[in-house]
């Protein structure tokens, strides 16, 4: 089976600054890959390039036809009701938009919020709508750009569970950008560590799901040292 994502020698400059310095990466269909790195390591830029938002790059990459994105901020249209936010832009559902949107909302447990205005939602609810909006497009590749970065710790835990469950049901390839090591190890099949626009380490996480934090303590120290952080808990 062909790769979902295939990247070869990707280079991206912002002015004099080289953000991606010849990056190679493959993602298999249905694979959940976490991209870890410090701020400014190029991980968000990589996602934007794959989403078609940043152009003018060197190197080659290929992505599937259906690509969806969930951003760090939910980016809902505040003047459209929740169900319209999900169904707008969707092709081939003429007249059925509402039903399709309601089904997607039920999957993120927001079935009774179809008619709500986005500004009345909590941060976690808005992010779930954003997830539903991405998944209703039945993507072969789902790009998640720190989608839980702005949520409180408790909401994050619930979201991890939800994302894992949705990924199992829909099986898109996922490229998940985060700087939270635990989050990456909890969810991903493979963790890729980025630094200064290159991949500096890769770890396969062969642990049964759902995972517990205790099960990946060793791997966690390794990844943290890849990131240049000493793991005080392990020491």
């Amino acid at each position: 089976m062909a790769d979902a994502v295939r990247i070869r020698g990707l280079v991206k400059d912002f002015g004099p600054r080289r953000v991606l310095a010849g990056l190679d990466l493959d993602v298999e269909p249905g694979e959940f890959v976490a991209l870890l790195g410090r701020s400014g390591c190029g991980k968000s830029t990589l996602l934007r390039i794959l989403a078609g938002l940043d152009t003018d790059v060197e190197g080659t990459f290929s992505v599937p036809e259906r690509v969806s994105v969930a951003f760090q901020q939910p980016r809902l249209l505040p003047w459209r009701r929740v169900w319209r936010n999900i169904s707008l832009g969707l092709r081939g559902v003429d007249g059925n938009g509402r039903a399709v949107a309601e089904k997607a909302l039920a999957e993120v447990r927001l079935a009774d919020h179809a008619d709500a205005w986005p500004l009345t939602l909590s941060g976690g609810e808005a992010q779930r709508v954003s997830l539903a909006r991405a998944l209703v497009r039945e993507p072969d590749l789902l790009l998640l750009d720190e989608p839980f970065g702005a949520l409180d710790a408790l909401t994050r835990l619930a979201m991890h569970h939800l994302v894992e469950q949705l990924w199992r049901e829909h099986r898109p390839a996922v490229l998940f950008v985060t700087h939270d090591v635990d989050e990456a190890l909890l969810l991903a099949d493979r963790v890729v560590v980025l630094d200064e626009g290159r991949i500096v380490a890769e770890h396969r996480v062969d642990l049964p799901r759902p995972r517990r934090r205790a099960s990946f303590a060793d791997l966690r120290s390794q990844v943290l040292s890849n990131l240049g952080v000493d793991d005080v808990e392990a020491a």
Binding site: A51, G52, L53, V67, S68, V69, F71, Q73, R75, L77, P78, W79, R80, R84, L88, G89, L90, R91, W117, P118, L119, T120, R133, R137
Partner: protein
């Protein structure tokens, strides 16, 4: 209310649910019962005005007494003069406003939605808007004569500029993050404009609409000084000839009422169109 409660009021988002309830209670009570004490000084001023007129300190050829003004208003309503004048002036504003709104709206859309539209349209409009449009009267009289046309043109000019500026600014202020989201979600260009760009320009456009309506009434008042043969301006100018200060004041009150009414209409429209902001 004690000082400690005032401290809670200052930071309602940190307060517990009980404190929030106590903090909110006075606000709702205030809204239910408007502070009648605020009416003391306006009523006092009217009484003072009446006293000055009754004692002859304020002669009627300078300013008629409130009682005379109300009596004249009643008579003008009964004999139909005021209603006719009201209708003529209102329709002038309505037609002039419609004209200005179409022009300002079309130009604003064109320069907001297309780069070439902006390059071609924005510079001349920005230059022209620095002209005080009321200063155009001499030109408008030369171009359009002294009939209805210069009055309508003046109102239209007063409406077109604020509407253009705010619509254009509103469109340009569209959140780039939402536009990006629309792109990755596969919106067509039409969907982007209809569901992202234009709705996000609505609040700013409504600000423009309110300014435009204010300017419309101002332009009408000035325009009706030009050889009016009907309308509130005619009523006022006619009254001036006969030193009828009472009728002048009635005319001014009607202008004020009309301005308040259209402003209330825009606010009602705002509540309806921007209901996504509340609740």
């Amino acid at each position: 209310m004690s000082i400690s409660t005032a401290g809670v009021l200052a930071r309602p988002e940190e307060a517990g649910s009980d404190s929030v309830a106590t903090a909110r209670a006075p606000a709702t009570r205030q809204r239910k019962w408007p502070d009648l004490r605020r009416w003391l000084s306006p009523i006092g001023l009217v009484l003072l005005w009446q006293a000055a007129s009754s004692t002859g300190v304020l002669p009627p050829d300078k300013l008629a007494s409130p009682v005379t003004v109300f009596r004249s208003a009643y008579e003008l309503v009964v004999d139909g003069q005021l209603v006719d004048a009201f209708l003529v002036s209102s329709s002038r504003v309505a037609v002039g406003f419609a004209l200005g709104a179409v022009i300002g709206g079309a130009l604003g859309l064109a320069s907001g939605l297309s780069r070439w539209g902006e390059r071609l349209l924005d510079p001349p409009v920005q230059m022209l808007r620095t002209l005080p449009h009321l200063g155009l009267i001499p030109l408008f009289i030369l171009w359009f004569g002294i009939g209805e046309e210069p009055k309508l043109a003046l109102v239209a000019a007063g409406v077109a500029f604020p509407l253009y500026l705010n619509l254009h600014a509103g469109i340009r202020q569209t959140d780039p993050a939402l536009l990006e989201a629309a792109r990755v979600l596969g919106y067509s260009r039409f969907e982007r404009v209809a569901h992202v760009v234009l709705p996000s320009a609505v609040p700013q456009t409504l600000v423009g609409l309110r300014i435009a309506l204010g300017t419309a009434w101002l332009s009408l008042i000035v325009g009706e000084q030009i050889n009016a043969d009907a309308g509130i301006g005619y009523l006022i100018n006619n009254a001036r000839e006969f030193l009828r200060t009472d009728v002048v004041v009635v005319g001014l009150l009607v202008y004020a009422l009309l301005g308040l009414t259209t402003d209330a209409l825009v606010r009602a429209l705002e509540r309806r169109v921007l209901r996504w902001r509340t609740r």
